[in-house]
Assembly symmetry: C2
Homo-oligomer: 230 residues x 2
């Protein structure tokens, strides 16, 4: 059975888990703590990042974009109107742009600093940078959230789904990234009703259910995290 | 005519210029200083990064991966043995992994800090962070180069081209990133003969010639930069 090395609170890992579920591809989940730089894991992915999918024939597919393209090439093309990438090359470009936006830019601006300060530092010994959150980093991450939420609201308000008329990788990437911030209670949904309506639709999909059951050690989610009517 | 917003010393921009040349796609080059955050440019690409290709029908293709996938979908598939992506899905995954490695990881670890310290800070007023290079940042970038050169040498020594038997996007991405560092004289080629042999082969391609003629204001390249027999 294929193996997916992932981490519960990694947005790109969550994205791949949802994609697998949407196309009906089963993989064994193995949790990896990428900050531990485990030598056997570095042999599989020298970049040391999750997610990585090792297929039955031993190929390592590293990173969310590469796994998503591979899923589309292997399964997506047969899905017709349930395909998560479009047929039109420019529509494909727009979907890929938004996947990058949420899994690279939103990740750098928001997810990485807040997850590091609020989750990873709790689990690391002081000698490796563990300790209490740095208020400056928290402020910077939170100020970035506001800008990103404005953009997300604009997308959600002007299109049926984020990249156009159909559910696509763009929605799954954005919702996966948002779900990590929502776990931590960092999203003020009342200020962004259009984004909330869109998130509610993605969150209600069966593919999203396992994410809502995820728990981080010593840090329960906010009360509304798994609630479909938040 | 399509327009390519690029910057001379941006590795992802160089990669796209070389790809265009390899497939025979012509675009008007417009130099953008992304750090100026020009409002009209942000309307085209809200992420504010180069390269961006605006096609004749007004579509904006943002970022090197998206442009490269679009080139492959539009022209590459007809190129047979000169295609820059492979036909096999796992081979495609390996090419994409290396493109990400050199245009995201090498970019973050090496190109961005060194270009910022050695080039951009020269052109910025002090009020916007201009000034002399920070020795700590230079040291960090240079120490990262050594690790990356070891990996590149391993790839170049164990395969005909970086991702396998054929020239691919992986070679063009890696060589574009290396060319920026080579402009600044940051690569010690004598220590890495296998990487040097590979770079010499890519550097000798007609598609690479325009890059070797590029010049940064007030900062000439090292003597061997444009030399094919360095």
């Amino acid at each position: 059975m294929p193996v997916l090395y992932h981490h519960t609170i990694s947005a790109p890992s969550r994205f791949v888990r949802v994609c697998f579920s949407e196309v009906g591809f089963a993989a064994e989940l193995v949790e990896e703590q990428p900050w531990e730089k485990r030598p056997d894991f570095l042999k599989i992915n020298p970049a040391g990042t999750v997610p990585v999918c090792v297929t039955d024939n031993g190929h390592a597919l590293c990173g969310p974009h590469i796994i998503a393209e591979w899923i589309d090439e292997s399964f997506g093309v047969f899905k017709r109107d349930r395909r998560l990438l479009a047929e039109d090359p420019f529509q494909r470009a727009e979907i890929r742009r938004l996947v990058e936006w949420f899994l690279i830019k939103f990740e750098q601006d928001v997810v990485r600093p807040l997850v590091r300060e609020r989750i990873i530092k709790l689990q690391l010994p002081t000698s490796q940078g563990g300790g209490s959150p740095d208020p400056k980093m928290l402020r910077a991450g939170r100020s970035n959230i506001r800008q990103h939420m404005k953009y997300l609201s604009w997308l959600a308000g002007s299109r049926a789904w984020l990249a156009g008329d159909r559910l696509s990788y763009a929605d799954l990437a954005a919702a996966s990234a948002l779900s990590v911030m929502d776990y931590l209670g960092e999203i003020d949904w009342n200020e962004h009703p259009q984004a909330k309506d869109w998130y509610q639709r993605v969150k209600s999909r069966p593919s999203f259910r396992p994410l809502l059951a995820d728990r981080v050690r010593n840090l329960p989610p906010v009360a509304h995290y798994a609630d479909l009517d938040f």
